[in-house]
Amino acid sequence: MGVSFAGNSPVIADLELERYGFRFAASPVVLATTYRDGTNCLICQEPERTAENFARHSSRDGQRMLEIQSRVDETMVEFNELSSFSPHPDPAKLPRVFDLCAYAMDFPVEQMMEMTGPELCERTFESDACRQILMTPVAFWEHGAPFARGQGAFGTTFALYYTTGVGIGGNEVQVDALTRCFLHHGGQLWTSAAVEEILVQSDRAVGVRLSQRSLYPGREVRARLAVICNVGVPETLRLVGHEVMESADPLLAAKMRYWKMGLRGSHVTSWLLDRRLSWKSADFDPLIDEAILVYRAFDSWEGTKRYMVDMLGNDTWKASGQLMEFTYPAPADPTSASPEGHTVLRAEECFPYALHGLGGPRSWDGPLRHKLVAARNAMMSQLVRDWDGSVLDYYDWTPLDNWRLNRSAKFGQVVGGDFTEDQWILGRMPYRMPIGGLYMSNGVWPVGLSWMAAGYNAAQVVAADAGIRDQLWWTSRPCEWYSRNLPRLLARDTGELRRVSEERRGQGP
């Protein structure tokens, strides 16, 4: 479970996912940060409500954020179309993408090009709290390298173009609807069917061979049109074979061989709670209790920058406890709570995988994981009301577990590769590979989140190559479905869960 970024996606309308059972809900809060000093920061659906929250930290920051969010809303469709829902790397699209970001942040493009992420935050807001929320998604190492000039500033801006929501019944409903659509149109789907090799003949991908560890050991499956590889850069290279890739494109082969994935492995804890949680910072602004995506984002602006330096220095232990992403569907999805009112809160921290000085990667299986979870629990009791009394059970999984589960998530990296200066938009993998008939949809731009952008873009390229891109139904634009339906997406009734939780809070553990 987690938060879904699907709202932006034209896929929902194009593929009629609601017809196939897709149900989606949104929160009035798009993204929130909560602080140990009892305050919070909220980016809300309504720019005026965001400004109201920001103004509690600084009236100047409130006014600036109102202007920024209004400009972001104004450019939402075009930005998403150019940056996310069309294939990259495409240098021709970048000038307009940068123009839009500069317009949104009210800086000249030339200045944005020279700014790091932290510098943009400092030049935009005067309060620590507002700087911290602006920095958070990039500090979480999504969208760009924070200290890279230009990339850091633009990456920080990109995060403002997200929408958030949850699939009703859990985000699996999104995959389920895609599956139903696929089967309805004649697709065939196998699970427990790991691929061992991408078959290349005469410089063309012609199919795959399944692994011996699969339901159909060693079986070859032929593909007349395309093989779309969604298993990430290192695995793609392994499946194709280094020599094959090198003969097709030596530079790309070298890039794939040294593709960086060790910076942000996910360590996740899921807690089972006996009630709906309430943040302590709700005293500052109660709307945070309606948020589905919340970050524990540092104690100060200086601490924010120190954290990013510690991450770059591979210092997992120092980085721990500073930045946590909480996803919590209960405020938006009434079905996410059990009949007794139990709910699940998921927290993710990103850590360097290597564990230098801590025993190396194998230590992820040892006492370190328990120490990290203990530290996380200690932090939670400072952020959430009656934390200890509300926790019934928990489990966690480390970057190593993540990799074990998902071969594409090498080192526990789930967004297709680190964001370093050389692995940004033009430095990501091409959708169309130099081997005929081979396409990628992981390790590309944009990141492989739940918004279905990379798959959508891969399909565009394959369809264009096959001469079947022009379809009457394939015409939706990003974000339009979301903005058209937002009132109904916000209308879920979770009052009963709130009542049960209040009752339980009154009773104590």
Binding site: G21, R180, L183, H184, P339, D393, Y395, L400
Partner: protein, 502 residues
């Protein structure tokens, strides 16, 4: 506005999906409503984002590739493969390990013959409308399957007495309890005897049990069935020549026919409009008896080596913590009395020893998925299971490490547990915490399941059919009720077309 369908199926478990697959392939316009977020019912598998696969009903399949539904719906082409371990169990007592092979070798030749006979004789009866038990067993005798009829008349106690060793008796008593017969003096009956026999013939679905309902779903959806999740039907009433289904989210759906896979109590005392329910069925629903015994099931994911048998082949499960039948009786008595047994004795399955697909290969392997079942009271005597679940799970792990020293060197990476009441919370139809929709006792099987008026899946309400575990045959994993319900509708509606199979 209400939408019209030819067949609405309530419940997206294995039977509901089976019915959907048959009917959609026959050309019917089918819609399935599953109240949970996923299909597959109790055959769900989870990984919880860990490198291990956990199954709620792991070896609940009485048949594998020889299940007629598998061939008829082409499931092996849709991602299903079966694993049939050659060693069913190892009984570990203070005196050593006793190996019981597939089919019950090691229990004594008399018992083995009975188990084989009922496995042969019973299967055809489970895939056709039910007949009374006397007529069924009489037919068995006339066809040379007298041993099967004899087994149907035994109790757990008299069956165990036929084994030629104490570990054999222990295994038989445990198998009976696991099959719904904890009372040593309750007659097994034909279906009960079959279930006990199949406990010694475990079948796993490769890659996790959910691969089976996944394949059923693909078969149904590929033929045009709409299979909805997070869609709870709250009421079914008559509407013209068909029915109107009311959903929790306010939707109204109309359908000429309905197959309900929920348990009889829910179906006849809550779901179906009371005006449509004959008094006999309402009474049958109210009096429907659930299983009396449930398990605390703990799942463990480890890095390192699991226990390895000293014998030639790895057993599917290891029965540990009981030295004699009396120990098992004491354990069951404690559970019946609402107390925690002295220690969490039960059955350990090293799932990955039989199916490597159910754990990641690494890095830093080997990784293994373990499952441990121990009978436990439905309510925790010290308060709620919610507060005591992690503690009892830890106690299970300590017990296993004590019984299987190899585990002390393994690193415990992931652990989950279902307390006896948890299953009921996920699946309202499993009222007492087992995957069976009602006890399989003779008074609730064959033509009596759930009542003679509707044991053949047709009910006295024209167009309303039963197709889940609460109707004949009531054996989890057979997929027979779904197939029989589909067959009845196909005959009643004269569906003849075969949808194009993609």
């Amino acid at each position: 506005m209400a939408r019209d369908h030819e067949v609405a199926i309530i419940g997206g478990g294995p039977n509901g999906l089976t019915a959907a697959g048959y009917l959609a392939r026959s050309g019917a316009d089918v819609v399935v409503f599953e109240q949970r977020f996923e299909r597959g019912g109790t055959m769900a598998s989870d990984d919880y984002s860990t490198p291990f696969t956990y199954n709620q009903a792991q070896a609940a399949l009485p048949l594998g590739a020889d299940n007629p539904v598998v061939a008829e719906l082409g499931l092996t082409d849709r991602g299903v493969a079966f694993i049939e371990p050659s060693v069913a169990a190892e009984v570990i007592t203070r005196r050593g390990e006793h190996v019981i092979g597939r089919g019950g070798t090691g229990l004594g030749s008399g018992v083995q013959e009975m188990l084989a006979s009922i496995s042969r004789a019973c299967v055809p009866a489970l895939y056709r409308p039910p007949e009374p038990e006397p007529s069924l067993t009489s037919g068995w005798r006339s066809r040379g399957e007298g041993a099967a009829a004899e087994l149907a008349n035994l109790t757990p106690s008299t069956l165990a007495a036929l084994a030629d060793s104490e570990p054999g008796r222990l295994a038989l008593r445990y198998a009976c309890a696991a099959s719904g017969f904890a009372n040593p003096d309750e007659r097994l009956g034909a279906v009960g005897g079959f279930m006990v026999a199949r406990w010694f013939c475990p079948v796993l679905v490769a890659g996790g049990s959910k691969n089976l309902p996944n394949a059923l779903f693909r078969a149904a959806a590929s033929s045009g069935a709409a299979c909805n999740v997070s869609a709870r039907v709250t009421q079914v009433g008559q509407a013209g020549p068909g029915f109107q289904l009311s959903c929790a989210d306010g939707q109204r759906i109309r359908s000429r026919n309905v197959i309900c896979t929920l348990d009889p109590r829910t179906t006849f005392t809550g779901l179906l409009d009371p005006a449509l329910v004959p008094p006999e069925l309402a009474a049958a629903g109210r009096g429907w008896a659930s299983d009396e015994l449930a398990c605390f099931t703990a799942h463990f994911g480890i890095a390192g080596m699991p226990p390895v048998s000293r014998h030639d082949d790895e057993p599917y499960q290891r029965l540990a913590g009981f030295n004699r039948v009396q120990d098992l009786d004491d354990h069951l008595a404690a559970v019946h009395g609402g107390r925690l047994p002295e220690r969490p004795a039960g059955v350990l399955s090293v799932t990955t020893a039989r199916d490597p697909l159910q754990a990641s290969p690494g890095p830093y392997g080997p990784l293994h998925t373990l499952r441990f079942d121990t009978f436990a009271p439905l309510k925790h005597p010290g308060g709620s299971w919610d507060r005591n679940r992690p503690g009892y799970r830890a106690e299970c792990w300590r017990f296993l490490c004590d019984q299987f020293p190899a585990l002390r060197n393994a690193r415990l990476i992931a652990q989950f547990a279902d307390a006896p009441g948890d299953l009921r919370r996920r699946f309202a139809t499993t009222s007492a915490g087992t995957v069976r929709q009602g006890a399989p006792r003779p008074s609730q099987t064959l033509d009596l399941r759930p009542h003679p008026l509707c044991a053949g899946t047709r009910t006295p309400v024209p167009g309303f059919y039963l197709g889940g575990g609460g109707v004949h045959p009531g054996v989890p994993g057979l997929l027979a009720a779904g197939m029989l319900a589909a067959r009845a509708i196909r005959a009643d509606q004269r569906l003849t077309g075969l949808a194009v199979r993609r």
